[in-house]
Symmetry: C2
Subunit: 541 residues, 2 copies
Amino acid sequence: MAVGLSYAVSKLQMLSTSDHASVVSMNLFVALLCACIVVGHLLEENRWVNESITALVIGVCTGVVILLVSGGKSSHLLVFSEDLFFIYMLPPIIFNAGFQVKKKQFFVNFITIVMFGAIGTLVSCSIIALGVTQFFKKMDIGSLDIGDYLAIGAIFAATDSVCTLQVLNQDETPLLYSLVFGEGVVNDATSVVLFNAIQSFDLTNIDPRIALHFIGNFLYLFVASTLLGVITGLLSAYIIKKLYFGRHSTDREVALMMLMAYLSYMLAELFYLSGILTVFFCGIVMSHYTWHNVTESSRVTTKHAFATLSFVAEIFIFLYVGMDALDIEKWRFVSDSPGTSVAVSSILLALIMVARAAFVFPLSFLSNLAKKNSHEKISIRQQVIIWWAGLMRGAVSIALAYNQFTRSGHTQLRANAIMITSTITVVLFSTVVFGLLTKPLIRFLIPNPKHTTSMTLSDPSTPKSATMPLLGSAQDSETDLVGHDIPRPGSIRALLATPTHTVHRYWRKFDDAFMRPVFGGRGFVPFVPGSPTERGEPQWQ
Amino acid sequence: MAVGLSYAVSKLQMLSTSDHASVVSMNLFVALLCACIVVGHLLEENRWVNESITALVIGVCTGVVILLVSGGKSSHLLVFSEDLFFIYMLPPIIFNAGFQVKKKQFFVNFITIVMFGAIGTLVSCSIIALGVTQFFKKMDIGSLDIGDYLAIGAIFAATDSVCTLQVLNQDETPLLYSLVFGEGVVNDATSVVLFNAIQSFDLTNIDPRIALHFIGNFLYLFVASTLLGVITGLLSAYIIKKLYFGRHSTDREVALMMLMAYLSYMLAELFYLSGILTVFFCGIVMSHYTWHNVTESSRVTTKHAFATLSFVAEIFIFLYVGMDALDIEKWRFVSDSPGTSVAVSSILLALIMVARAAFVFPLSFLSNLAKKNSHEKISIRQQVIIWWAGLMRGAVSIALAYNQFTRSGHTQLRANAIMITSTITVVLFSTVVFGLLTKPLIRFLIPNPKHTTSMTLSDPSTPKSATMPLLGSAQDSETDLVGHDIPRPGSIRALLATPTHTVHRYWRKFDDAFMRPVFGGRGFVPFVPGSPTERGEPQWQ
């Protein structure tokens, strides 16, 4: 066997010390990840802190230590790589979100989510772009053209759904979770079009044809990405059902599910679609069909393995952002005028808050107009939370800022350096300060979340995923695993009262008649068609 | 959220087409991995083929297709990267092997395994190096110096334990599996020293001091690597036991186990030790202590997630080697003299077979001399299988050959080109032809493996890992999970007959008194000390 390592060792000794340096970095990074998990666990009872903030703080502290040890030369261990983030870290997080999302909640609020994600992002981007144009022109910043201003709008319109996932709790506040997170997923599709438009269209004369082109492009992207995810998910269900892998190997099933999920993301990248939308819908389909075709141990394994991968990727991102924040080179140009930098960051933070308020409250009002029952409407307290939970900016903003402002001559230009450092400041501040305040804010506004957010049936039989020993919920278990044939008076009443009931029934019939025989899945058991037993499945509104 | 992908998309459109080419490659690669899993499943009943061969053949076929499509320019999708192999693919495979290995089997045969791994590799390397020196000097190959000949010895002394894992079955032939696989792990430590010695020592005058230095170096490497693995494993057990992660989150436990396992490998790299030995022993310790401190669902998840990662990594390697084999550049220099290439490959294959025979049979004879009971001895049929199962060469040989023969002027030199292509030929031939013949050979020599290999207690309560729905064996379950308090007459007799019994008892007492209170684990239940209930745990011989 491995004369193998001899290769590594000889290479280390002969060629360079940089190889060994990268081994040192990886060691430190993995050790820090372990530390984050342990510290995060110890602080879990704390009402302020969450895992993201822990990782961010540990990252910044490590950055300080490295800065001191290296004598002020460098503070980060790995070079920030957008590929690492978009190709390896983001897919497991979004896939897991789709895999564990409460499907009913998501589809009941589908239209609201799309409105928030698409129109909201546009509004947010426009307001931020307009705001910076007004403010920055009066300040001594440097040369920024209209493309840069629009790009700043796009950069700071990108909400950080990774952080949202940590702050909001799917079981405590299902409506808010599905709205804010769903918005984040749709946000991506909008943003791809937006950024492309800013970089490719002629920005001097905007006419209706471009707007039409823009809308068409968005619709294509949204539909195509969703379809790709659904098709890949169904394909995995079909393969596993037909070959009946369970007969032989749990490992094969798990491997196939992981690979197909990743394949869906990469296929979307291949066709210039939104990989995030694709992998999200692939996760939904896989949890509805594929997951029921595999063995018991495959189910436990996939559920926890996907969650673990997502968990590690999240910590990795925040640890990384924390460490990268202190990179000395970026701060060099800013150090002679700290006032300007603080002013720019403050303006950006204020604009983010205003821009988000400018679409959350009006769109919530519109959404409420369409609802008849008062308990379905988004209350003003919930609107405040939706507004607040989307204020955090994360690694996506940083990656975009790097892309826009380091292309032409690194951070040597004053304006570019200021924008990069301001982005980092905004990300750190919003994640830590806004993040710290979110949990107390939710507790303050909604003292007992279970009852106030009961827009849809909050199923008492749904336990928290983390505390369940085996096959807990999170896995859409309210339908699939526990008592789908036990009538629940409360649920029935709630269901009968909603107009989505009809859509739900048609979808159920379609699923039973055509989808389940081909793709498997145990979502529905058709005891008495149209009976009260139909609960908790995707309702296409 | 992710204006993210916009970055990727804009980058794709602006900067280069090479980025999109890499997306295409990744898509194809992931799709091929899926295809390998499906085809491997369909062919599982086949008595000749195994998963490695399937992946290798699919890889070669894909290579042919790419070669035709690209008009003879290129046949591989990714550039062969030793880092990818040694840093990402190998650790999960070896860790999983340690995690799932039957500990009793391994430790009962510890001395034999070390003999095979250390002395065997030295003998093998010497014979191959001597052989090629004699043969190649007479042939028209080009300039190779004594360093090259010795390196060839080291390259082809490296057995491919990944392939061994696929060909031999731990449950059917536990003794053979532990011997051949254990040999492979020890082989690594020997090889690190060997390769370093070849590259750093003055090869013109070999005196006893160098030999002594060599032996000391080997002992240090072996002991230090093992200790590092054990310490990391114990640390993970201690952390999880003290913090009792199960109270809150399965995901945290699984993440911590994965990260600590990987950390042990990277730490070994950091200290220039043998990462393979370290991660192997880390796996053993984790399965003995850590695994029993976590929740039920964590156990199922880790067991299958590690196995799945290992499974995917194995397929990846073989798929890759198959694809890389057809790289046109390497074959250009050889195409004008195909006879020489065939001759070189044949000589190498013959030398590999002779060199392995030269240590397997004498060392087995020595090992048998030390054993008193006839059923403990390695029969001549088993010796033939040990000899045969170690003949396969794999990705490790290829990585080493690249390191040795592409350093000075790529494959432009005739001798280097011939050595690279010959290595590929040997790897393909040995994996496919020898691999195809292994299953039938074992069936022919040992018609009913369960009974003929019963050197140690073959526990009938141990099911195959893959077919168990939940918490199957592979996880050393003979002691930990099922009936450790049920006396089994056959087992008792076998145990009492062995001289390792005493060592076993002392280890058990030590484990009960000092280790388990600190690190957890449920390996032993001390009902009656020294009673027949002590079964199936590590016996330090």
